[in-house]
Subunit: 145 residues, 2 copies
Amino acid sequence: MILEKKKTFNAFAARQGLRSTRQRDIILDVFLATHEHLSVEELYLKVKASQPGIGQATVYRTLKLFVEAGLAREMMLPDGQTRYEHQLVGEHHDHLICTGCNAIIEFEDEQIEQLQRDIAKRHGFSLTAHKMQLFGLCPACSSKA
Amino acid sequence: MILEKKKTFNAFAARQGLRSTRQRDIILDVFLATHEHLSVEELYLKVKASQPGIGQATVYRTLKLFVEAGLAREMMLPDGQTRYEHQLVGEHHDHLICTGCNAIIEFEDEQIEQLQRDIAKRHGFSLTAHKMQLFGLCPACSSKA
DNA sequence: CAAGTTATTGAAAGTCGTTTTCAAAAGACC
DNA sequence: GGTCTTTTGAAAACGACTTTCAATAACTTG
Ligand SMILES: [Mn+2]
Ligand SMILES: [Mn+2]
Ligand SMILES: [Zn+2]
Ligand SMILES: [Zn+2]
């Protein structure tokens, strides 16, 4: 699975005439080893553990390549940092976010997706993407408050 | 209606012990005269037309007060600028955005809202807010492409 | 309404995430 | 290896916003 994603990226790189570098390999390994919604800074710190000399700019640049290659998705939470998460082909989910502890729960709701398509259609729009985030307090944070 | 909103703000200001200033009056007037989703910069330029000496920081500060007072809502589009729009008590809408011409269409969908509440409930969350934006091409932009 | 107190203001500096610049280093191809 | 390009890291630049601070304006009180 991880191997498959590496192949996806290598194929993308070849297609784009990108060179294969040690830095991109490490960043890809670190990214694929995570299962969260990490900010560039967080990723950068993890990457530096494997390879101290690596530059922040390279991490920024490389994550954008992952998005182009289709294996990462960019997301913005209200904290003003861009975060990246794995993107599986043909899959999509939205987020339920605890404003107390920043926990993120992923969900899919085909009914909502359909209603969204209906709304777009009603206005003659050709829909290309959407963003939906629900904010509240998770059970633990609710009981604390 | 505009008068009523001014009263809302004055009541808020009184409650908070805020002073009534010429700057806040002008910014409120300009804000209430708009019907779009304006960035701070756009608002600032409009405000400067009425009152050239006014500072950008004052516009930033004042718009936050409007949000606290409940008469404005803050929104973020992917362009990285905070925008403000009118907020009517008890009303809510989401946005359908054309990525071609940046047109914004507002919509409400009680079915989706209900499904969102269901999702939150299913995860034991107490929902406090949500953000939903649909992206695509409006009819005009679709036909161009 | 003058004096005293405190909030507000505008300009400029600071912050923070991100992007760009640029010279050195590394990859690709011969 | 030699040549041509891409990539890299450090540092500077950027852009939206926030903070600082001294001057000014709004209330309060006598
Ligand atoms: Mn996710
Ligand atoms: Mn709106
Ligand atoms: Zn929580
Ligand atoms: Zn359009």
